[in-house]
């Protein structure tokens, strides 16, 4: 069913590919758990069978119970599992935390989920559907949102998964360690063709990746496409120095003072909200007059506009400089 013919897998695999830095760390916790579980499961199974046979009715065995310190026994099998549990908890939580916090220098790629496909946007403007090309050995951060229902972006070979929500951005990151093609699945049930919302991740050598990025067609960068949208929707009629709306140059990630005195950071979430639902948070000193662009912009276009606004950060830069 899937276009991803994953060549690294045998026809009867019992363990998944391990193709990212995180995968190794997750698998270590998994094997730790497996060892502990196997020990306790075997302990219980062996004792059950042994007692059932040894003490079966009719057998003449010693059944006299000598003084057993019952409280001590109970405490033993409460405290030992508790300590083991907390050790596993701490270990798994540490790995989780590390794998949730992206390193600084990440290559940022945008993902939009919609029934039933994945749209991927690279900052230089390359777009792909149901495929994600990435270079080996480079940290990649995915910034994701959904056009409709909840989806979940799942790459088993990297051991990563994150729900993709409508109306919000979520993110996850990875660093691939093995060249090859890997499955990409939607893991949150999203309607009729949920199991068709699949694709592949292609991990490439850096040079191959550079070549792939420059594939044939001349691309507008995301920011440049955003600039075009910005002009087409006449955003700059109001958003300019001294205009009816706040000037957006240098806005990104800056603190903004709202009506009522609260402050908010002008991050992706805030800018998206201001485009889709402008009345939610009004910047102090400006009138309530901006219309919603909910029906005029798709989520990938919103991404482009935000890229453009980001590119305006350092004074009045133009967008033609790709953020790559």
């Amino acid at each position: 069913m899937t276009s991803a013919k994953v060549n690294t897998m045998s026809s009867f695999p019992l363990f998944p590919d391990q193709a990212s830095v995180g995968a190794q760390r997750v698998d270590a916790v998994y094997f730790g758990l497996l060892a502990i579980s196997a020990f306790f499961a075997l302990l219980i199974f062996v004792l059950l069978i042994y007692f059932a046979l040894k003490y079966r009715a009719g057998r003449n065995v010693d059944r006299v119970i000598r003084r057993t310190d019952y409280l001590k026994l109970e405490m033993t099998w409460i405290i030992i599992p508790l300590l083991i549990s907390f050790a596993i908890f701490g270990w798994a939580a540490k790995v989780y935390f590390d794998l949730r916090t992206p390193p600084e220098d990440a290559l940022e790629i945008y993902v939009v989920g919609k029934q039933w496909m994945w749209k991927v946007q690279h900052p230089n403007g390359v777009r792909e559907n149901n495929e994600l090309h990435v270079p080996i050995g480079r940290t990649v951060k995915l910034t994701m949102t959904s056009q409709d229902v909840i989806h979940s972006f799942f790459i088993p070979a990297f051991r990563i998964k994150q729900d993709v929500l409508p109306g919000r951005y979520t993110s996850q990151w990875f660093k691939a360690t093995k060249v090859g093609e890997y499955h990409l699945f939607c893991a949150e049930y999203c309607g009729t063709s949920h199991s068709g919302m699949v694709g592949k991740v292609v991990v490439m050598e850096p040079l191959d990746y550079e070549r792939w990025l420059l594939q044939g067609v001349a691309q507008e960068s995301m920011a440049a496409s955003g600039e075009l949208l910005y002009a087409r929707l006449s955003c700059n009629t109001c958003h300019k120095p001294g205009g009816r709306g706040p000037d957006l140059a240098g806005l990104f990630n800056r603190q903004v003072k709202l009506e009522g005195g609260d402050f908010v950071t002008a991050d992706r979430e805030y800018i998206r909200e201001s485009i889709i639902n402008p009345m939610a948070k009004i910047v102090q000193g400006y009138p309530r007059m901006m219309p919603t662009y909910r029906t005029q912009l798709t989520e990938d276009q919103v991404n482009e506009v935000i890229e453009y606004i980001k590119s305006m950060s350092g004074g009045q830069e133009t967008a033609s400089r790709s953020t790559k």
Binding site: A52, N60, W77, Y96, A187, H194, S195
Partner: protein, 543 residues
């Protein structure tokens, strides 16, 4: 009691007409009504599972279409969770046994009890109606905004069905709580209660406290779906994660509604068939309450990749490890009970062993899911499917069937054929493991759940699973046949065929309508076996 015949007057022959059943307030008859109803639902839900497993024999979707498949897993979940698992032990065995075990004539509110059965049946009708008129395809979890704004299937009648179903649960829970508090026989102190009562009591607390949250959630969802008020749908200004919090605030405790009663059954089986008081009685009793309380604090572990705060996830992970401890305590104590017991390997004990083994695997794999880093990889895959089937089918259903076999002589006055029963318990165990163990491997490989078509390298494991499911099916049909057969042809059981010590074994089988001729007085703990005196073999076994 060799000449034991089916007791002359009993609750079964107290009246014969349809009305004598449909208007009964006898807790035992209502238990039987529930038994018939949920058995029907079980086979309906099982039929959906069978179709799913057949579809999954081959990688491409080819037997049914994608939407039909989605409806199948939704209806399988809805039927099994709300129409079989949740009512199974509380409403069948709980109804039948709680009054007898506490030495009472009936539950505290017999008419309310009948009302809960009718509510249950009405909710079943709504759900069946939704099913016949096209089904639902949201998954039993009804995640928004898919369920509220995108699906075109019959969500509303199913939600009404589940809403009404909830009231049936609440009333049953309330009845049991009040009965245990107010109607215990003289001398039956809390620490003399059978452990079945402790766990059914803990279950009832959850039923009463958690179910209203489900009702509220469904109301809000219906409101959004019909009126378009933004509560969960981000397009209307709502928050879809809020739905998940509310849903799991009910549905995680609901997992314990399904497993706690089985744990109670297992305590009874282990005590009776090893002729020993349960080791660490007070710890096992307290563990039931601990599970009921902790169960309310861990819902967020279903949401580690949902977009909830990572700090919330860390707290929920830690709390989830805590809830593992009381379950482990139970398993250790059951095992210790067998030590120096007088183990009688009858069918109910086989089921108890099956329960302990499968629940242990289910519980331990729960630790994998509670481990944050591992959960990110395995959540929403077949690993989760395998895990909760080990708990709910390997655990809850094994316990239920063990209980049905153990109390069958009490309910019907007849013994079932032991050889067949042992055989089918073994078939069930093998079929179960073959069905669900491969799914752990599939899950770690990354096969997502709720997939109608899948990559070809997953096929062999899926074929194994489907083969197991057909064996499992045989394991369920066999008891249906021989239990029905035993109603007419089984040997009369006599009042106490297993040598049980709890109060229900101190009355005739089947019991008279009022349960006891005179109110019993209790002077000893629940499992009062004195076998420590050397060599007095084979007393009280069917004698």
């Amino acid at each position: 009691m060799n000449e034991a015949v089916v007791a002359e007057t009993n609750y079964l022959n107290a009246g014969y007409g349809v009305k004598s059943w449909l208007l009964t307030t006898d807790h035992k008859r209502i238990g039987i009504l529930y038994l018939l109803a949920i058995t029907g639902f079980f086979f309906v839900g099982g039929f959906f599972a069978l179709l799913m497993r057949l579809e999954l024999l081959t990688p491409p979707g080819d037997m049914v279409n994608a939407q039909t498949y989605n409806k199948l897993f939704t209806m399988h979940g809805v039927t099994m969770v709300w129409f079989f698992l949740i009512p199974s032990i509380p409403a069948v065995l709980g109804n039948f046994l709680v009054p007898m075990m506490v030495g009472a004539r009936d539950l505290a509110f017999p008419r309310l009890n009948l009302l809960s059965w009718y509510l249950f049946m009405i909710s079943g009708v709504f759900t069946l109606y939704a099913l016949i008129t096209g089904g639902v395809d949201t998954g039993w979890t009804f995640y928004t905004p898919y369920s509220s704004a995108y699906t075109t299937t019959n969500v509303v009648p199913v939600m009404i069905g589940i809403f009404i179903n909830g009231f049936s649960s609440i009333l049953t829970g309330l009845n049991i709580i009040i009965t245990v508090h107010t109607m215990r026989a003289p001398g039956l102190t809390w620490f003399r209660l059978p452990l079945f009562i402790w766990s059914i009591y803990a279950t009832s607390l959850i039923l009463v406290l958690a179910t209203p949250v489900l009702a509220i959630t469904l109301l809000l969802l219906g409101f959004e779906h019909l009126v378009g008020v933004g509560i969960f749908d981000p397009a209307l200004g709502g928050d879809p994660i809020l739905f998940q919090h509310l849903f799991w605030f009910y549905s995680h405790p609901a997992v314990y509604i399904m497993i706690l009663p089985s744990m109670g059954v297992i305590s009874e089986l282990v005590a009776t068939f090893s002729r020993k008081a349960i080791f660490g009685y007070r710890f096992v009793a307290a563990a039931s309450l601990a599970i009921a309380v902790y169960g309310f604090l861990v819902w967020g572990h279903h949401m580690f990749v949902s977009g909830q705060s990572v700090y919330a996830s860390v707290v929920f992970s830690a709390l989830s490890y805590l809830v593992a401890i009381p379950s482990a305590v139970k398993v250790f104590n059951w095992t210790a009970t067998l030590y120096k017991g007088r183990v009688w390997l009858q069918t109910p004990l086989l089921y108890a062993f099956g329960f302990i083994g499968l629940f242990t695997v289910g519980g331990l794999t729960g630790l994998f899911l509670a481990a944050l880093a591992v959960d990110v990889h395995v959540t929403d895959t077949y690993f989760v499917v395998a895990h909760f089937h080990y708990i709910m089918v390997g655990g809850a259903v094994m316990g239920y069937l063990g209980g049905i076999h153990y109390w069958w002589p009490k309910m019907t006055g007849r013994l079932y054929p032991e050889g067949w029963a042992k055989f089918s318990a073994v078939v069930l165990f093998i079929g179960f493991n073959l069905t669900f163990f491969p799914q752990f491997i599939l899950g770690y490989l990354g096969m997502p759940r709720r997939y109608f078509a899948y990559p070809s390298e997953f096929q062999i494991l899926n074929v194994l699973s489907t083969a197991g499911a057909s064996i499992l099916g045989v394991g369920y049909i066999l008891p249906m046949i021989y239990l029905t057969w035993s109603l007419r042809h089984g040997k009369p059981a006599g009042p106490n065929p297993w040598g049980g010590t709890t109060l229900e074994w101190h009355t005739s089988s089947p019991p008279i309508t009022t349960n006891f001729e005179t109110t019993p007085t209790v002077t000893a703990p629940a499992y009062d076996y004195h076998h420590d005196e050397p060599e007095k073999e084979e007393v009280s076994q069917g004698e």
